[in-house]
Symmetry: C2
Subunit: 336 residues, 2 copies
């Protein structure tokens, strides 16, 4: 296997995917810091909006690899990490390469500018996966170039683009994914997922703008649709149903600070940026042209049961996969 720029960028991309969706409204970004030719110092990612960017996490971890007991270890706030590194780096990064999946941000928002931090630390080279088209944040490449830092663009650009795609979509309109669980052979009957996968779904619910669910699922399953497994925020819900009459004792109607809309107007989806669809197989055919992803949770067992997707005809690309315990999480992007 070749140990080259693609190899290191791939480590950054895989690390970032672990936090895909969970960084909303920010993009998922990964960063790797390599000293010399191939000494790996850090593989880090942006984990949640408001928390340090991938570059900050990676530069901090890289510095600590050589200075394990440095006071930097105790700093978690982005501004403080920036300030500390700029003051104390003493040229540590001058023989380092920084691999980052997305152009470093150039603006000061909830966290300070990564391009500025990198400029001050003066690494030997910055290798970038994909440029940032976001008007607020772009300009990082320009900043680094003006500081005479060597830059290489478009490293694993296609993979970096796929990592960025949900952000590009929710940033310019609406990103919709359908979450479903099935067995290896496609059965959706009965309880499929283990608790670890359920907790992951709750962490998604905690982030999304809207949860879309079918009326029949609500009537049959009487769900709560909250994020209790992670003590998170319950999302607003849209129930897709022509018939507006529901038993108001169903738990989902009794969550504080939640809006519930009952509607059969799918145009309402466009009022939201980040939408998860659950349990509405019958709606999938109608929705399929609007769907960006299916997030498929696969339990590795074979079981008799009905196959909810059998009447569809859609082509996908597997853009990433992770494990959740023994189960598989497959990010499928619809081919348009």
């Amino acid at each position: 296997m070749k140990i080259n720029n693609d190899f290191f960028m791939n480590l950054a991309i895989n690390e970032a995917w672990k936090y895909q969706f969970l960084t909303y409204p920010n993009p998922a970004v990964g960063c790797v810091v390599v000293k010399g030719d191939s000494e790996i110092l850090a593989i880090e990612a942006h984990k949640e909006a408001g928390m340090p960017h991938a570059e900050v996490n990676a530069l901090k971890a890289a510095f600590l690899k050589y200075h394990p007991n440095d006071v930097l270890k105790t700093l978690n706030d982005s501004f403080k990490i920036h300030e500390y590194l700029i003051k104390n780096h003493k040229g540590f990064f001058n023989d380092c390469k920084v691999y980052v999946t997305l152009e470093p941000c150039n603006h000061i928002g909830k966290t300070p500018s990564c391009a500025n931090l990198i400029k001050e630390l003066k690494p030997n080279k910055v290798i970038i996966g994909h440029e940032d088209s976001n008007n607020d944040a772009k300009g990082g490449i320009e900043t680094l170039k003006l500081a005479d830092i060597d830059i290489e663009l478009d490293c694993l650009k296609k993979e970096a683009y796929e990592l960025l795609y949900p952000f590009l979509k929710w940033n310019s309109g609406t990103f919709i994914f359908y979450k479903m669980a099935q067995t290896l052979n496609g059965s959706v009957d009965g309880a499929i997922s283990a608790n670890q996968a359920k907790a992951y779904v709750h962490s998604l619910r905690d982030k999304i703008d809207l949860l879309l669910i079918g009326g029949n699922t609500v009537r049959t399953d009487k769900p709560t649709l909250d994020a209790r497994y992670i003590a998170g925020r319950a999302p607003n819900v849209m129930i897709y149903s022509k018939n507006k009459i529901f038993d108001r004792k169903i738990p989902l109607f009794h969550i504080p600070n939640r809006e519930v809309v009952i509607s059969d107007d799918l145009f309402k989806l466009l009022d939201h940026k980040f939408i998860m669809v659950e349990g509405t197989y019958t709606l999938l055919d109608t929705l399929k042209e609007k769907l960006d992803y299916i997030l498929l949770i696969v339990n590795p067992k074979i079981r008799k049961g009905s196959n909810a997707l059998n009447d569809l005809d859609i082509d996908f690309e597997i853009v990433h996969e992770n494990y959740i315990g023994e189960e598989k999480l497959v990010f499928l992007k619809r081919k348009s």
Copy 2:
């Protein structure tokens, strides 16, 4: 992400899985060489029986990383690489760590002993995933210990065991896997796999001892069952059928140097070490207790069609996954 022994061993394990089954009758083995704490010099694997072992490929690549134009580059034969490295290493490996998924071999077979090579190169440490229980090859750890080389055992032992499992099975009896292709939703109708996946299946046919196929599949599909996509060897075939009468014009009967047996006696399988089963869904229930793996090739599309596995009830563990082009290759081990 922690950059530690597990991280490097994981790189070695993933590299080895790329050649799983293709190393038959040898085990799939991976090796990573790291200089100092975390400077990655090589990530290599054993690729085919008779070719250099993982350690030899990795030690060669590591040396070449620092000496890119050395004459070592031109050597491909194991004996010659051993001899050259022992003569010319000049202490290069003394500050290196060698991660190997399996205890280095201690015997001289088609290739010389890896334990002896490592002993001579004197790396700082050897980290081993799983011990070798093979009577012919074991003893490598002992050899290294006697040479005062620091050894750490059982690094990612469970993952190293899963990598080794097919070898353990065919070495002590029979390893049987069922190869099948399906869409995301489990449909098996029509042509599913792309050419790249077909070529991979042919490379498996080139290695196995026996291909088991159902009589109905033979009668309906009239297959050739050779390895023409890779210009490989066509495997011997057992057709599982009570009715012994077949149209002898079916191409599979006309391959030179191939044995074809028509039988409904599954005990005959035990005369072979490495068996692939193709296209006999009806046989799966009978066979399921004997099956070690399902090798599932998943095309990421949803299509209407019949679900061949729906009448089974089996639990699996996903032991590894690779991509073949846009398709997914899933190694599923039956839970017993």
